[in-house]
């Protein structure tokens, strides 16, 4: 419980950093760190398979995509950057305040009801769950990936080319 609380607090803080940092590259790295923390939480909760996915796909693949997008888009000149930064600070300064306020409100109110939890599931093996019970989800995943392939083919093509 103690460890879990620390991890959750860290999760909030790191994602806050990812959102607030002025540099896009740092934001991408912050997001990868958030994913890594989420992985640890999942592991703590006893969900190692999902944790592996989170680590490899979100912390790995998505970060690669993000970093390449950041590197493909050019940086602003320093003067422009500083100007933007000032306006950013003005706009984002309220976020930590908002978070603190929300936290304070939620800490004062207790859970207004008792949770009524269902009976535990008979199937505890993820593989059985995914491959036998929820096979249709796998089919959906394949279709989503196919759409992603089309997306890469169409969107990452250079500027508009004429003809086939």
């Amino acid at each position: 419980m103690m460890l879990l609380s620390v991890l959750l607090i860290l999760l909030v803080l790191i994602s806050l950093w990812a959102v607030m940092t002025p540099l896009l590259l740092r934001a991408a790295i912050g997001l990868a760190a958030t994913s890594a923390l989420l992985t640890m939480i999942m592991y703590q909760l006893g969900a190692p398979l999902a944790a592996v996915f989170e680590l490899s796909v979100c912390a790995g693949l998505i970060s690669v995509v993000f970093v390449s997008v950041v590197s493909l888009t050019h940086r602003l000149p320093l003067k422009e950057f500083m100007k933007r930064r000032q306006s950013r600070i003005k706009r984002f300064i309220f976020l930590p305040l908002l978070l603190v306020a929300a936290l304070a409100i939620m800490l004062t109110i207790k859970l207004p009801f008792q949770l009524q939890l269902p009976a535990a599931d008979k199937i505890s093996d993820v593989r059985v769950m995914l491959w036998n019970i929820r096979r249709i989800d796998l089919f959906g995943q394949i279709m989503a990936l196919l759409a992603g392939v089309y997306g890469v083919l169409i969107l990452f093509r250079g500027r508009k080319t004429d003809g086939d």
Partner: protein, 466 residues
């Protein structure tokens, strides 16, 4: 049959990619059309109980999917076949680049699989997956031409779609927490017994409202519709947003229809969509944007019918759902024809096209009047049934809203007709001629359906309502 509806498009999707690069566009078109014809044929055949016995039993052992196709799903599958065929034909006529045409067929098949999945799901998380698959294919379809505006439209759609995802998945996790499962049966048990699960259901409905573009969740819809290539607009307006938002709503309302507060939400959201969509459409200057707002308004009719909480209301909602596919696909096909022949879709630059393009003018008039709910066209019957359903269930105010908004509907369509199809022909359009047969075939076919259904329906109603 349930498996075939997923696997035949999938197999064709693989097949068209196996052709050599230079020769694949034509076969892709014809195979795509064949899939849609199969869909329509399957629905008709299943009415006679033909498919269930022959093929399903053998396939069942191979794929253990939890899918079921109810009678309701037939409407969606049929509508998607009609809208898809129209979109394919329009794409063939309007997309100039061969590669674009090929990719269009592929993405259409992906989203078709998503829609067929939506028609058959029995699990709320699987429903989300198929909605997302449809949406993913649609983002890419919108950017098919990679026009400047399309990036804006697609990005807005994507952002709102992720917001919807967040709402829906939060709901799913609450269902897991309380119901211990995500199948419709588990969800129903949880919602009846626990207020937290009930809140989760509301969150899920909000997600569906975003996907279906209901007021005030509709911000992305006009931009996405009007920035997409017209062939994609046919597909988007004809079926995609309706399948992923509205059909899922109908499905959930069939399961949870008895809950009083849900009906109030449906009525309020529906009425807001009807009124705001219609009023906004009145002020539009582009054909596609006008049709987009009109879609919002028409979706409002479907949702308000769900709010009546009666069987007649749900039947009316499904009927209007189907009718909307008919007339919106016709109208977008007409827009494609106009755009193809004149090079613009801004109403101020158009005029007098009924003289130059008589068939396009006539079909668009039929479709517009059907949208406005004028007899003897099919739109009249669905609107009438919606109003009757509202009236019978005692929602007089909402019935009045529905009736009055149809006046505004009429107004903006008359405006459209006057600016685009009647009046004087501008000097720039003197040389305009009727569009080619590829664009006319779907428009004529669909408007014939509108008229025939409108004329036949009064004699069918006893049979249908039973």
């Amino acid at each position: 049959m349930t498996y075939l509806l997923l696997f035949i498009p999938f197999a064709i999707l693989i097949l068209i990619n196996l052709f050599p690069r230079e020769k694949r566009t034509e076969p892709a078109f014809w195979l795509g059309l064949a899939v849609l014809v199969f869909q329509a044929g399957a629905v008709v055949a299943s009415q006679f109980g033909y498919w269930g016995t022959i093929l399903t039993s053998q396939l069942e052992s191979v794929f253990g999917f939890n899918l079921q196709l109810y009678k309701m799903g037939h409407v969606l599958v049929m509508a998607s076949a009609l809208a898809g065929a129209t979109a394919l034909l329009v794409a063939r006529a309007t997309l100039k680049n061969k590669r674009d045409r090929f990719n269009f067929v592929g993405l259409l098949l992906v989203s078709l699989i998503g829609i067929n999945g939506i028609a058959m799901v029995t699990d709320i998380f699987t429903l989300y997956i198929f909605i997302e698959v449809t949406a993913l294919a649609t983002f890419i379809l919108i950017m098919l031409n990679r026009e400047q505006a399309a990036f804006e439209g697609a990005f807005k759609y994507l952002i709102m779609s992720v917001v919807a995802t967040v709402l829906m998945l939060a709901a799913v996790s609450l269902f897991i927490l309380i119901g211990g499962g995500t199948s419709f049966l588990d969800v129903k048990m949880a919602v009846i017994s626990d207020p937290l699960a009930y809140t989760a259901l509301l969150l899920f409905l909000c997600g569906l409202f975003i996907k279906g573009g209901m007021v005030p969740f509709h911000g992305w819809l006009p931009d996405a519709y009007s920035s997409a290539p017209t062939a994609v607009s046919v597909w988007l307006a004809g079926i995609v947003t309706k399948a992923s938002g509205i059909y899922a709503l109908i499905r959930l309302m069939v399961i949870f229809g008895g809950l009083e507060p849900l009906q109030n939400i449906m009525l309020t959201v529906g009425a807001a969509s009807i009124v705001i969509g219609a009023l906004a459409a009145l002020g539009q200057k582009e054909l596609k944007r006008l049709l987009a707002y009109s879609s919002i308004s028409q979706m409002g009719y479907i949702v308000i019918a769900l709010g009546s909480g009666t069987v007649l209301g749900i039947f009316a909602a499904l009927f209007h759902f189907f009718n909307h596919t008919l007339f919106k696909a016709t109208l977008f096909a007409n827009v494609a024809a106009v755009e193809e022949q004149t090079g613009t879709q801004e109403m101020e630059k158009l005029g007098g096209l009924a003289q130059k393009m008589p068939i396009t003018g006539l079909t668009s008039a039929i479709a517009s009047l059907s949208t406005a709910g004028l007899p003897p066209l099919s739109g009249f019957w669905s609107k009438l049934l919606i109003i009757i359903a509202l009236w019978i269930s005692g929602h007089y105010f909402f019935a009045a809203v529905a009736v009055l908004a149809s006046v505004v509907t009429l107004a903006y369509f008359l405006l459209l007709q006057r600016q685009a199809f009647f009046g004087l022909v501008p000097a720039a359009l003197k040389e305009v001629r009727e569009a080619g047969p590829i664009l006319l075939i779907p428009a004529v076919f669909l408007s014939l359906l509108i008229v025939v259904i409108g004329l036949v329906f009064p004699f069918m109603i006893q049979m249908v309502l039973r």
